[in-house]
């Protein structure tokens, strides 16, 4: 099973977002779209790719932590 990991934006400075993944934080560029602190997002190639609804994140993280394999 394929599982990307959604993260939460905890900071935005210019076009750079800091994304929290629980165990670590990474930065990603915002090249298009409107994003705010608190948004859950997918980061693709160090670019914020898309926003994920918080309810979907919950289901996503349950699957991610359930030990299903790819």
């Amino acid at each position: 099973m394929c599982l990307a990991v959604p993260g939460k934006i905890v900071g935005i400075e210019g076009d750079v977002a800091t994304v929290d993944y629980g165990s670590e934080r990474r930065v990603a560029r915002i090249v298009s779209g409107e994003y705010s602190i608190g948004d859950y997002v997918i980061v693709s190639a160090k670019v914020v790719s898309e926003k994920v609804d918080e309810e979907q994140v919950k289901g996503w993280m349950e699957l991610l932590n359930a030990g299903e394999n790819c």
């Binding site: 099973m1 990307a4 990991v5 997918i42 693709s44 994920v52 699957l63 394999n69």
Partner: protein, 167 residues
């Protein structure tokens, strides 16, 4: 140097297609960050990884590929089996919400599918690609020679191969 897809070892094509799933395995502590780095380097440099490790790390994909191999009457590590699984069956499994996908959120399923895409911009380390009416930035680690207008297969945050047969 261009590397023909026809000359690429099945294990290399498999790893490039499967590698985008690897981050989740680190998150779940199934593999170490060192394992991740080893697999990433092997995928980028086109090195063959032992079947034992591929089967251990990507057990779901290998199990599904085993079914495909049986159906096609081919061996598991045959390139036709890898292509049939990742470029045809993989999305069908997701669309049918089979197995672990039964409870997966829609946005996750869409992100996890493999798409045919067109390169519309080339960056230093990434590509901007268009698939359907969407665009996505993907890493070009596995398709270093990709250029604007090329058709590529994308999986999550990676372009995994150029469709004209070169990568």
């Amino acid at each position: 140097m261009l590397e023909k897809i026809v000359d690429m070892e099945p294990e290399v094509l498999f790893l490039r297609c499967a590698f985008p799933c690897t981050e989740g395995k680190v998150h779940r502590n199934e593999i170490t960050r060192d394992d991740f780095d080893y697999l990433e380097e092997a995928a980028r440099e086109g090195r063959v990884v032992k079947h034992e490790m591929l089967g251990r790390v990507y057990s779901f994909a290998v199990a599904e590929m085993t079914k495909v191999a049986d159906e096609l009457g081919k061996s598991l590590w045959d390139k036709a089996v890898v292509e049939e699984y990742f470029f045809v069956r993989h999305n069908q499994v997701i669309d049918a919400r089979e197995g672990p996908y039964s409870a997966a959120p829609e946005v996750m399923c869409e992100y996890c599918k493999v798409y045919d895409a067109e390169v519309i911009d080339v960056g230093k380390r990434d590509l901007l690609v268009r698939y359907g009416d969407k665009t996505r930035h993907v890493l070009k680690d596995f398709v270093q020679d990709a250029k604007e207008g090329d058709r590529v297969k994308i999986h999550q945050g990676y372009a995994v191969m150029i469709e004209d047969g070169f990568c």
